[in-house]
Amino acid sequence: MNATKELIDKLREDILIWQGFKPPGAGSAQPIGLGAIESAFPNGVFPKKAIHEFITLAPEHSAATDGFIGGLLSILMENEAACVWVSTSRKLFPGSLCLFNVDPERIIFIDVSSEKDVLWIMEEALKCPGLAAVVAELNEVSLIESRRLQLAVEQSGITGFILRKDARKSVSTVATARWKITPVASEMEDKMPGVGFPRWNIELLKVRNGNPGSWTLEWAGDEFVEVETVRKSTALFNGEQRQIG
């Protein structure tokens, strides 16, 4: 039994190598702090040299996505690195990023008027080795455009995030992962009244060579903490116990 598992693991690794996924070298595979979610990716490592696509439907969801990306940026932007945030209609409040351990001063916001400019800037920024990550709020991105972005990323090793706020137009892109972040009810310790830490349902809709799945995470002040779904379900029925602080 054990031998079969080893054999299958070995074969999986071989397939990944043939598909262009190199096994992480020693010391290079640092966790991004997502816990169990990281195991959904090939080799169990969050791909930093990749384009991640986030889809949202409602403004509340885009706030949750912004928060989740903020949490990822806090790890990616270690060592004083900078980040570029390109958008046509940005609502993100820079001051709130402090809550996700990101220094807002190290984010360069580029607010342009057309999606074409967003794409151009994103591609240029992804080629810039001095950045840690690039976030772009884009609604429409075609297969060819996303392929260009992917090529830029493969050269420089920068993480690219695409936020698609109008996800009804579903198009196929070459993004490594497609995420959907939705807010779920927060919970205070010991059933105390009030709003707790931000908590999200994280759906990994598509991962290249990985296993899609769904998790519930909480940003506990300075790191992601996984929440057991059992507690979530009870939290939904706490309505009548509401107390005003």
């Binding site: 993100l92 916001f109 001095g130 005003i244």
Partner: protein
């Protein structure tokens, strides 16, 4: 260095200009006239009119009597100056310092010091200027001498050679009439009355004698011609210390050609900047087309740089704006703004260096060049509680905050630019809403925090304070709501949504 000046005299400036515009006037004698003290006076004449005996300063009635077929054209005040300015700008190709002759308003001065060798010698230089201007249709006379005054004199009254060798200018003007010194009309009359028909007849006189009779201005003019008094040079364009020019043998029309020209110019200007420890902050590329038009593109950088490849990338974004039409004959690159460059230390470990990294600055330069400078923003905290004013936008890449970011109070991840009004059911006096209706959707409030009262800064604007609540609805979505004002008898209070929490 030996100073050399050229005086350029357009003999029929307005007439030539008119002939270029209207070639059909070639065989017609015509004059420009303008009203002066109730009479129509001739201000400029064509060569054909001159041959008929018409002179500047005649009345038009007299002139028409002499020459019945004379064409009269209206002269506008200031037209000659405008024309000369245009010609002076065109002539910058010959010398960086070109000025308009303000005395007679019919010529130009060039400071040709150190320019002539580029054309292979002074004679070739003069020949080139004359042939180019003749080719455009202007009839010119010019002279080159050590002083602008002497050059002026020779260009208008000289009979032998236009090229006065260094140190010989005083000798060359001796036989010229006193008008050649740019003297006033009244002084000229006095000189004639006294029988001074040539400069040599009074130039040796004691200065005090001349001053008493003809005034200080006359002495100054004499000194300017001899080189003892400096002439005020007001160039039409102040020369820029960092400037490179590239004349082309054949007119450039292709994108590739323009790219090569830009690279060449950048290479030489960057070498110059590098040797002086300076970097470029802005650059202007001026293209002179063979049809006489000038095309300009400019770039700016966020930090001083003398990297050819980076500057070339910035120009590459602008090449589309250059219309070569029939071809570009001269490229000129100016660096009007330069800064000291801090020599960067080579880092042993290239990690993720952050905001001050060269590649980031270069990226921002490219973005600014393509989309515009106003789109790049950074935010630093401002010491205000009012949410809209709690961040301050800055365009600088290096500016750091004087205060800390506040993290003690909850602030939404997404803040609406303008708060949206909502309908709310809430208990008084200070309970959070039971439910609220936003965009026609009813949200039942399950959890809430607050209120957090934020007072309006009365010294900045007027209005009600806000009581903020952080609420979570039954789907787990978190909002930032506020009530504007007190629950007070007749007063208006309103509820708004101002943001979304993560």
């Amino acid at each position: 260095m030996q100073k050399r000046f050229i005086s350029l005299w357009f003999r029929y400036l307005l007439a030539d200009w008119q002939l270029i515009r209207r070639p059909e006037l070639k065989d017609v004698p015509f004059v420009f006239a303008a009203p002066d003290h109730g009479r129509n006076m001739i201000t400029a004449i064509s060569p054909l009119a001159q041959s008929q005996g018409i002179e500047v300063g005649m009345r038009t009635a007299d002139a028409q009597a002499i020459c019945p077929g004379l064409e009269l054209l209206d002269d506008k005040p200031g037209r000659a100056k405008k024309l000369l300015k245009g010609l002076a700008e065109w002539c910058i190709r010959f010398s960086p310092i070109v000025m308009v002759d303000e005395f007679a308003m019919d010529g130009l001065f060039f400071d040709a010091s150190g320019c002539t060798h580029l054309w292979g010698g002074e004679e070739e230089y003069l020949r080139e200027i004359v042939s180019r201007l003749n080719g455009k249709g202007y009839n010119v006379r010019l002279a080159m001498a050590d002083t602008p005054g002497a050059a002026w004199a020779i260009s208008r009254f000289g009979t032998r050679t236009p090229l006065i060798k260094p140190g010989e200018h005083a000798e060359a003007i001796l036989s010229l009439p006193p008008e050649a010194l740019r003297t006033e009309e009244t002084t000229l009359l006095k000189l004639r009355k006294l029988g001074f028909h040539q400069i040599k007849s009074f130039i040796g006189m004691p200065r005090s004698v001349l001053r008493r009779r003809f005034g200080e201005a006359f002495l100054a003019r004499m000194g300017q011609a001899l080189g003892t008094v400096d002439e005020l040079i007001i160039p039409i364009q102040v020369p820029i210390p960092f400037q490179q020019r590239l004349p082309c043998l054949e007119p450039i029309k292709t994108r590739k050609g323009i790219e090569i020209a830009i690279t060449r110019l950048l290479e030489s200007i960057c070498l110059q900047l590098k040797n002086e420890g300076k970097g470029l902050r802005s650059a202007i590329l001026t293209c002179y087309r063979i049809d006489g038009k000038i095309v300009q593109v400019d770039i700016g950088t966020n930090g001083a740089t003398h990297s050819v490849s980076h500057l070339f990338k910035l120009f590459q974004l602008k090449i589309d704006q250059i219309r070569p039409a029939l071809g570009i004959e001269l490229f000129m690159l100016d660096a009007p703004k330069v800064d000291e460059v801090a020599p960067g230390q080579e880092s042993l470990w290239t990690g993720k260096p952050g905001m001050n990294d060269q590649s980031v600055i270069q990226l921002l330069d490219r973005v600014a060049g393509k989309v515009g400078n106003g789109v790049i923003n950074r935010y630093i905290p401002a010491s205000h509680f009012w949410p809209e004013r709690s961040i301050r936008q800055t365009n600088s890449i290096t500016e750091t905050a004087a205060t800390e970011w506040r993290t003690d109070k909850p602030r939404p991840t997404e803040l609406l630019k303008k708060p949206d009004p909502i309908e709310v059911m809430a208990l008084i006096p200070d309970h959070p809403p039971k439910f609220f209706i936003y965009k026609n959707i009813r949200h039942l409030v399950v959890k809430a925090d607050g209120p957090e009262r934020i007072e309006r800064e009365w010294w900045l604007d007027e209005g009600e304070h806000r009581d903020y609540y952080q609420v979570e609805d039954e789907q787990g979505q978190r909002y930032w709501l506020y009530r504007s004002g007190h629950y007070d008898g007749g007063q208006k209070y309103k509820w708004f949504i101002h943001g979304f929490f993560a």
